[in-house]
Amino acid sequence: MTLLLALLLAVPVLAGLVLLTAFPRATGAPVVAAGLVAAVVSVVVAVELATGVGTRATPMLVVPLLGPLTFTYAVDGLAAVLVVTVTVIGALVLLAASGEQRLRRGRFVGMVLVFLGAMLATVTAATLPALLAPWEVMGAASWALIAFDRRDPAVGPAAGRAFLTTRTTDLGLYVATGAALAAGVPGLGLGALAAGDPAWHGLIAAGLVLAALGKSAQLPFSAWLSGAMLGPSPVSALLHSATMVAAGAVLLLRAGPLLAATGWAATLVAWVGALTAVVLGLVAACQRDLKQLLAASTCAQVGLMVLGAGVGASAGAAGLLVAHAAVKALLFLAAGGWLAVLRTRALPALRGAARRHPGIGVPFTVGAVALAGIPPLSLWWTKDAVLVGIPFGEGGLTVAGLLATALSAVGATRAAWFLWRPVRSPSIRRGAEQQTRRHVPLAITVAVGVLVVPAVALGGVAVAVGLVPRADAGELVTTGVVVVLAAAATWVLHSRPVRVRSALWGRAARVGRGWLGLAVVTGPAVGTPVTTLARWVERADASLARALPRAAAAVPALARGVERRGDRPIVVALARFAAGVRWLGDLARRPQTGQQHQYYAQGVIAIGTLGALAAVVVWAGVR
């Protein structure tokens, strides 16, 4: 089984790396086939692993890092469900991507496979280092995937924002790992986090929550998800369904015991999730761009999962995660199909698209109905399983949950309404009809068709076999009624719009369409201070660089001073001394005239002097 697990993690990554390094520019069927084979192999391995959970020993893969610290991967119940979801959706996304000419490239397929491998490692990670590594690889791979259309000047900043937001919040994981080490968590295991020294619980939980909220694009980090829409549609389908945003929710589910142990962390998580679900539900309800609508709705749905993790409704949240993954992948792939054929994502321009392309229009509608939470489709069951987990005392959370449910119905109905709207304007119809000769690629239709099944039935089946708890009847009926009413009201309001003549309303809608200006605010709020600080530090550094050489310049100055004050007087004194010596020498040379009579005279004078001296001495001695 360990071998199978290693295979599960290695196959996508290795296949992806081979495609990336050896065949980045290869195109066409061989590349697609290679990608699909790798994806299908992972699906088979994942299913094989998942069926063994509970009956056989948990498969474990341990890669030593240092002493007792290891990269450990294991397939437990949650991981089993998630690996199957991730691999199936990954394979379908690759299939759908093969429908677009520009995506049949080694570079794209390889990067998707690496991304999938990273997500698989993330969901099977059992220790903090094992989680941190793929977690960050996933962020970098998402950067490369969003920036796939490298000629487009807009993708660079958008991809950069996605990577930087998630990377910055990832620092939380580094801090959490260090704190876990300090707390003495055995082997840094994810399941044992609450077993460490309680003094460090707060820091561990804070780090994990920060990382999870950033990855899941919860408030206030939601803006990167909007920019991520610039990537190709299959990438959006992947990022917003089973991977990336789901990873944050998975981490929170795994850290459940620790969050509960700190107290405040669980409450914080629940409220952030609820708030995101409501606010981003509102944002979704006022979008005019199909992909942006779906993205905002993803944030809202993940908010519900985060809420579930916060209140301890783990099984419900996991069920919601899987059901939502199927639904959202379906919706994004269908949106991508229209984008490929009609070259637009604007809802007004997509009027009647479902009528012209029923092959993806009908599945899209089923997906939208499921997303709206209308009974008895998947999301209705699973969402109620989350809501039923909210404790009785938390009235606010319950209200927020119901509101979010209603808002998701509004958003989904809005999308469906536009797509089924008959086109009245002749010019639009003519323009559109010219393009209807282009068919939606078969690959996309097939992928979307396959996804309809889980979107419809998954929730019901999961409740029937007991994987997801069944909410009580009252709860189920309440949400059902709320959702149907909200959907009906939305449909009616769109068909017979009530014109509100207020500038405030329009402005509010614009702000909502712009994701509450989150992206606009992040730049000045974070980027500008950092760059200003950087410029300031650069100036300070320049003066520092000047100060030390200036201090060093004192050395030559000192040398000059020594030369002037100390050295020169010595030189002068030496010169004078030398002159004196020379004068003495001259003096000594003067008697040497070379004339004998003068030598005799000098001799006589010398002997006379000596004689006189001797006489004086003798005389003095006698005295």
């Binding site: 260090g178 650069e538 550094d541 030390l548």
Partner: protein, 520 residues
């Protein structure tokens, strides 16, 4: 091992043909890598492999003492690998563009690098303070000539600044060494017998001569610390680094960043921690603070740079700051020993990782300067189209430098941060912010250079003329030698990233020894 480059250098002295010179150089570099790996494989925990100990100046206790342990072996291997990459990278440089028309210049270039390789290996294997000092100083002199002779811009000034800073540092360090040796002469060893004046590192580590002598110990540590900190470099003594890197030739920058900077951090691990445990514990907070300031200062400065070479140079300050932080945290005896071993291991991995990754980044920046005459980020755009090999390697190197898992930077930074946090939580959290800034600056540079519309400096866009016996290729992309050089370094980074146990299994026991010594 360190003699081999000198021997080859002697053989190459009379040679003037460029092909023979370069061939000999590459051959030797390959041989050195093989030797380093062989030597590494024989390193066992506890003790030194391939130890050579011969008295040199017995009157002063100076010995010729060399040996490899778990900390030096990976560094030696990294050094040989970087020199091999530099040799490969220099293979097909265009002589005319390099002003190397004179063949004697090519010979001097090769001889200088051979000499550098010899002394670099010498520094990492030296187990005697005087020997360490000699190798350390010779490396400074050789690097001065490399920058002054083959640099660009204000190379004379930058080279002189580099030389003065590091040379003054080494002199201060020598004072510290003398103080240690003299103290050993007066102290009695662990077994009670007198040690006598000695410069032998293991003997000094065993004797701990300055134990219990507060002020003398602190002054000695300050002297050694300042000398090493200049070389590392640590804020506020880092200002020689950017001009030296910017004006040095690409190969010189790569060696300077990859190998010479490590001499500073290696000195901390080899000398400051084990030989002065008491003072180090007392001054650990200083190391931590300076480390954190270096991390943030370097990251912010790199963010403000417009030139790729300067940007990479400042990230070196940032990366070395993490090392100092981790070593400072190792001085906190209150934290668990497991975490501190992790911190020291991470610091050593960071030295290796920074060596290969920054070496690759400097070579790539040098390629830009070679092709278009400038390495200013804004001058290049949309490179993913015309220069695919360059783009891939640059992206991988940048991600390795910012610490992406699967590459070596992650293993190092993860170990250092996780290992330091138990000892100094606040400082570590502040230092972690540096990771976010580094990520930001690299991603910004990548998206500005690789994505968008194609825009190259005029020199890179012109079809190159035929020169010499080789026809220059039409594409501005990396050539075979350059790809091999950079690919080699990045492959090493990838290997460490995927299987960290490759290096950590050797380093961890040695790091545990260091931690034991420092907590005496």
């Amino acid at each position: 091992m360190w003699v081999a480059p000198l021997a080859v250098a002697l053989l190459l002295v009379p040679v003037t043909r460029r092909e023979v010179l370069l061939g000999g150089w590459v051959g030797l570099a390959v041989l050195e890598v093989v030797l380093a790996v062989l030597a590494w494989s024989s390193v066992v925990p506890g003790g030194y492999a391939h130890e050579v100990s011969v008295p040199w100046i017995p009157a002063f206790g100076v010995g010729y003492h060399l040996g490899l342990d778990g900390i030096s072996a990976p560094l030696v291997a990294m050094t040989t690998l970087v020199f091999l990459a530099v040799a490969l990278w220099s293979l097909r440089r265009d002589p005319a563009a390099d002003r190397d028309a004179d063949e004697r210049r090519a010979r001097a270039y090769v001889l200088l690098f051979l000499g550098l390789e010899a002394v670099s290996i010498g520094v990492f294997t030296a187990l005697d303070l005087v020997l360490f000092f000699v190798f350390f100083d010779v490396s400074i002199v050789l690097m001065y000539f490399v920058i002054a002779g083959w640099g660009s811009g204000e190379r004379g000034r930058s080279a002189l600044q580099f030389f003065l800073y590091t040379f003054v540092g080494s002199l201060v360090m020598l004072l510290g060494f003398l103080s240690l040796a003299v103290a050993a002469g007066g102290a009695s060893g662990a077994t009670g017998d007198r040690v006598g004046i000695t410069f032998d590192i293991p003997a000094l580590a065993a004797a701990d001569p300055l134990a219990g002598r507060g002020v003398a110990g602190m002054l000695t540590l300050a002297a050694i610390g300042i000398g090493l900190a200049i070389k590392t470099p640590v804020w506020p003594l880092h200002t020689w680094l950017p001009p030296a890197h910017t004006d040095a030739p690409a190969a010189g920058s790569a060696v300077l960043a990859a190998v010479l900077l490590k001499m500073g951090t290696y000195g901390f691990v080899r000398i400051a921690l084990p030989l002065l445990p008491g003072p180090w514990r007392a001054a650990a907070l200083v190391a931590v603070v300076l480390g954190v300031v270096s991390v943030l200062w370097g990251a912010l400065l790199a963010l403000a740079q417009r030139d790729l070479k300067r940007l990479v140079a400042y990230t070196s300050v940032n990366h070395m700051g993490y090392v100092l932080l981790a070593l400072g945290a190792a001085g906190y005896a209150s934290a668990g020993s497991e975490a501190r071993v992790l911190a020291v291991t991470g610091a050593t991995v960071q030295m290796v990782s920074h060596g290969v990754v920054t070496g690759a980044l400097f070579l790539l920046a040098g390629t830009l300067r070679d092709r278009g005459g400038t390495s200013v980020v804004a001058a290049w755009s949309g490179l993913a189209g015309p220069m695919p090999r360059f783009s891939w390697t640059l992206a991988v190197a940048a991600f390795a430098s910012l610490g992406l898992p699967g590459l070596s930077g992650f293993v190092a930074e993860f170990s250092m941060l996780a290992g330091s946090l138990p000892a100094v939580p606040v400082a570590t959290i502040l230092a972690a912010l540096g990771l976010a800034v580094t990520a930001g600056l690299f991603v910004r540079a990548l998206q500005s250079m690789l994505l968008g519309d194609r825009h190259l400096p005029a020199a890179a866009d012109r079809p190159p003329a035929r020169t010499g016996m080789f026809r220059r290729p039409g594409s501005p992309d990396l050539r075979v030698g350059e790809t091999a050089a950079v690919g080699l370094l990045l492959a090493a980074s990838l290997a460490i990233g995927i299987a960290p146990a490759l290096v950590t299994s050797t380093i961890a026991p040695a790091a545990a020894t260091v931690v034991d010594l420092v907590s005496r």
